[in-house]
C-alpha cells in the first residue's frame, strides 16, 4: 500500500488517494515556422479522508505526503456527514479493454513529423501558411483507498490540429481540422485534401437570412448535445430536483433517431477508462435508447443522495478544466452517439439552404441545465448542397430537447473527441437538425 494512504488510514477512518502523472510534449508551427517546443512533466495527488463520516480534502505534490494527510484531516474537522464510503476492492478484468500504451515520441521526432505535414500542405497548396499544434502525452491515473481499491489506468494519445487561414483573412478563423488517436498518429492524403478544400469554402463571408434553417453540426459542434445532457443527467441536479430530466427515466426526451451510450472502456475512445476518478468501475450502458431516457450519470456523492449505486461517472473536471483540484462530480467519461446510415458529405449535399456549424462561441454562458443555448456559430453558409462562404455575425439559439427532438439524420462517421475545455469525451457523428433559429446581425 502507498505510504500516503497507509498514513492517512492510520489517522482517518477512510482515505482515498488519487494520483495523476503526465508527461506531455507540444510542438507548434506558426506560418510554417517552428515557434515553440513545450514539455510538461507533472505528478499531482489529491487526498480525501473521512473522519467520523466527515469529508476533508487536500491537494499537492505526493512528495509532501505528510502535509497532504495533515491538511486533509484538518479540513475534515469542518466537514459534514457525507452519504457515501470510498470505493472498496474492485475487479476491473471484465470492464473494458486494457489500455494500450504507445511509446512517447521524442520532440525531435515530432518536429520532423510536423515539418513533413507542412511540406505536404505546401505541395498541394503552395500559398497556404499552416499553423500546426502537435501534442503527445503519456501518463496514468491511479486511485487507491483504505477499503482496498488499487487501480491504475494508463493513457497515451497524440493530437494534431491544423489551421489554415482563409485567403482573404476577413476573419480570424480558417479551415481547421483535428486528428486524435492513442498514439503514432497517421495523417492521410484524403484528410489533408479535405482540409484544403474547406479553405476554398471561406473565400468570402456569406450571411443566411434570419429564421429557422436546417443545420448540420460537425462532431465538435455536436458536442452541444452532450454538454447540455451532461448538465441535465448530472446525478446531483437530479437528486436536488433542479434538472428537467428528473423523474423522466423511460420517457422520450430526444429524437428516436438518437441512441447515446456511455462506453468509456471502448478501445476507440481517446483515453479508454476502466474506472472513474473515485475508483468505481465504469459501466457500459445506454443513456438514451431511440430517444428514450434510460440512465443518469452519478458519482459516490449523488448516488448516495439518490440511495443507489454509483454509475462510475465521477470525474475531476469542470466545463473548462480537468485538474486535480476539481471536485469529483458526475460527467461523461466516454459517450458514444450511435452512427446513422448516411455519410456526412451526402447529408451536406442534400441541404438546399442551411448552415454547417463547425464551432460555437459562448456555449458556457447559456442556461444549459434547462437545455437552452444561444451561441455565436462559426462555420459555413450552405446553398444547393455546397458551402458558399463563411458565417459572420450569426447566432443560433433554441432548446436542445426541442431541436434535437426534431433530428433529421445522424452521419455514418464517428470522430473521437478528447476530454478538453468545453468538450465531452466520446465518439461523435455529424448531426443534421431539421431547423435551428439563426439570427444574423
Amino acid at each position: 500500500m502507498n505510504a500516503i494512504i497507509q498514513h492517512a488510514g492510520s489517522v482517518a477512518d477512510q482515505a482515498e488517494l488519487y494520483t495523476r502523472t503526465s508527461r506531455s510534449t507540444q510542438i507548434q508551427f506558426t506560418n510554417g515556422s517552428l515557434s515553440l517546443v513545450s514539455h510538461n512533466d507533472r505528478t499531482e495527488a489529491a487526498l480525501r479522508v473521512l473522519v467520523k463520516g466527515k469529508l476533508g480534502a487536500a491537494f499537492g505534490d505526493p512528495v509532501r505526503g505528510e502535509t497532504l494527510v495533515h491538511d486533509a484531516v484538518s479540513a475534515a474537522a469542518y466537514g459534514q456527514d457525507v452519504p457515501f464510503a470510498f470505493s472498496g476492492a474492485q475487479s476491473f478484468e471484465s470492464q473494458g479493454e486494457e489500455p494500450q500504451i504507445q511509446r512517447k515520441r521524442s520532440a525531435q521526432e515530432l518536429v520532423a513529423f510536423c515539418a513533413g505535414i507542412n511540406q505536404r500542405i505546401r505541395s498541394i497548396c503552395p500559398d497556404a501558411d499552416a499553423n500546426l499544434s502537435f501534442g503527445s502525452a503519456i501518463g496514468s491515473k491511479t486511485v487507491q483507498t483504505t477499503a482496498g481499491t488499487d487501480a491504475t489506468d494508463a493513457f497515451s494519445h497524440e493530437s494534431l490540429i491544423v489551421e489554415i487561414p482563409f485567403q482573404d483573412r476577413g476573419t480570424d478563423i480558417g479551415a481547421a481540422a483535428r486528428l486524435i488517436d492513442h498514439g503514432d498518429l497517421a495523417v492521410s492524403d484524403v484528410w489533408l485534401e479535405d482540409l484544403l478544400e474547406m479553405r476554398t469554402w471561406g473565400s468570402k463571408p456569406s450571411a443566411p437570412s434570419t429564421g429557422r434553417l436546417p443545420t448540420l453540426l460537425t462532431p465538435y459542434a455536436s458536442n452541444l448535445l452532450l454538454i447540455a445532457l451532461a448538465a441535465g443527467l448530472n446525478g446531483l441536479a437530479i437528486a436536488q430536483g433542479a434538472s428537467p430530466l428528473a423523474g423522466k427515466i423511460g420517457e422520450s426526451i430526444l429524437s428516436p433517431k438518437l441512441t447515446i451510450r456511455e462506453d468509456p472502456g471502448l478501445g476507440q475512445q481517446v483515453s479508454p477508462r476502466r474506472f472513474d476518478d473515485e475508483g468505481v468501475p465504469v459501466q457500459a450502458r445506454d443513456i438514451v435508447s431511440n430517444g428514450v431516457l434510460r440512465s443518469y450519470l452519478t458519482d459516490l456523492g449523488s448516488s448516495g443522495m439518490l440511495e443507489a449505486s454509483s454509475t462510475g461517472n465521477a470525474v475531476r473536471r469542470t466545463l473548462f478544466t480537468e485538474t486535480i483540484q476539481d471536485v469529483p462530480g458526475p460527467a461523461w467519461l466516454g459517450a458514444v452517439i450511435e452512427p446513422g446510415p448516411t455519410g456526412w458529405k451526402e447529408l451536406l449535399a442534400g441541404m438546399e439552404e442551411g448552415i454547417l456549424v463547425t464551432r460555437m462561441l459562448g456555449l458556457h454562458s447559456s442556461n444549459l441545465l434547462q437545455g437552452q443555448y444561444a451561441v455565436q456559430a462559426t462555420g459555413f453558409h450552405v446553398r444547393n448542397g455546397k458551402p458558399i462562404g463563411y458565417l459572420e455575425r450569426t447566432m443560433i439559439s433554441g432548446n436542445v430537447f426541442e431541436d434535437f427532438g426534431a433530428l433529421q439524420a445522424v452521419s455514418s462517421e464517428l470522430e473521437p473527441i478528447a476530454q478538453e475545455p468545453l468538450s465531452v469525451p466520446g465518439l461523435v457523428p455529424y448531426l443534421l437538425l431539421e431547423s435551428v433559429q439563426a439570427t444574423v446581425g
Binding site: A58, V111, P165, Q240, G362, L369, V375, M395, S397
Partner: protein, 459 residues
Amino acid sequence: MKDELRAVLSKLDVDYADIRFDVERKTSIRLSNEQVEQIATFSPQGGHVRAYVNGAKAVASFSTLEDAADIACQTAAAARAAAAHCTDPLRLAATPPIDAAFPIETPKDPRTYSLSAKHELLTYYNQIALEAPDVMMTQFIYSDSHAERVFVSTEGSGVEYEHLISHILGIVVGRRGNAVRKAFFAVGGSPDFGRLLDREEVLRDALRDLDELLDASPIEAGTYPIVLDPHGAGIFIHEAFGHRSEADLTLHNPMLRERLGNGKQIGTPLLNVFDDPTIPDRGGSYPVDDEGVRSQRTQLIREGCVAGRLHSRETAAAFGENPTGNCRASDAGFAPLIRMSNTVIEAGESSLDEMIQTVDDGYYIAGGAGGQGGIDFTFGARWARRIRNGKLGEMVADANLSGNLFTTLNSISMIGNDSMLFEYCDCGKGSVDGVQMTTRICAGAPHIKIDEATVGGVS
C-alpha cells in the same frame, strides 16, 4: 531560491533564458445546498523555464526545485535543436532588468482568518440563499490563494513577487413550474478579505432578480438597440475588443494588423478604453508580469481610434513597440501569454435615463454570465428588461448577445457618466499548454447604448 535559480541559468548556453518558480497555498470551501461538498487546502508548487536560441523557443514545466537544473539543460538543448526549423526567428524587445521584491500588504489578509471563520461566512451567505422562495439548488464557493513567485533571467532580473486573492462565488438555481433560472453572487477578487464581509445586500439583490426571472419569458431573438449595464459593458469590452488588443491574437493575421493599426478608427469618437494593472486592489492588479516587466497603464482606444495594444516581449519586438507588462501565467504549469489586466471603458456624459429614453423597442441588458471573443464575440447576460417607447418594462430571461468587433464598436451611440469596476472575474485563454482558466482579470465600464446588437433567443 533566487540565487539557486540564477546558478541554474548561469550554466546554460543560450541567447536568453528565464525561470519562474511558484510556491502556492490555496483554500477552497464548496457548499451545495445544506452539504459541504469540499473543504480543502492545496499546496502546489512548481517551476517553468523558457530558453531561446537563434530565435527558437523551448519551454518546460516541472514540479520541484531539485528538477530545475536538469529541466533547464534539456530545455536549452530543445531550443538549440528547434533552431534548425525556425524560419521566422523570435526576438525579445528590450526591457530593463529588475532586481526587487514586491510584497503585498492588505488591511484584512485572508491568511489571518481561520478555516472556521471562512466556513462560517460562506455558510451564512448560503443560508440566506436557501431561505429565498423557490430556490432548489445552491452552490457557494470560497477560494483564496497566496502565491510567492520568483523570476530570474539571464539578463539579470531577479524578482520576488506575490499574488494574493480571496473571493466568494455563489450560484443559486430557482425553479418555478417549468422555469429553471440562475442567480449569481460574486464578491471579492482582491487581496482584501474585508470585501467579502457584510455583502448581504448584494446577495439579496441577486435573489430579488431571480424571483422576478422565474416568471420571465425567454428573450425574443432579433437585432435591437440595447443599453448595457456597467457589468455587462465591462464583459462586452473584454470580449468584443479586449482580446483583439492582445497582440499575439493579431500578430499573424495581416488583415487584422492593418485594421487594428495605431490611429485606425475602430469605434465611435465617444469611446476611450484603457488597460491598467496599476489600479490598486483589483482582480487584474499586479506590480510586475511573468516576464519580469513592470506593469503599466496602456491606452487601447482614444476617441474611437486604436491607441495601443497589449504586449509580451516577443510581440513587442515583432510590432516594433514597447513591452506593456501583460505577459502572465496562471501557474507554473503554463508558459506566460498576453492577458488583459483591469480593462476599462472611460466614463462619458450621458445619464442612464437619457439612454433609456432614446430606445423605442429594445432591451436593457444586465450583468455578465460569461463570454467568448474573437473578431466575432458573444456573451451571456444575467437578466434583461424590455424597453418600449423609452420606458423599462418586464424582465426577460436567457439573453445572449453576439456581434462583430468592427461593426459593434461603431454602433455605440451613448456612454454613461457612471463608471464602475466590477469584482471577481476569471478569464480563460488557450495556449499550447491548454487553457489558462484561472488568470484573474477585472473590467469596468459605465452604462453604454449600442444601436444595433444581435440577441439570441426564441423565434
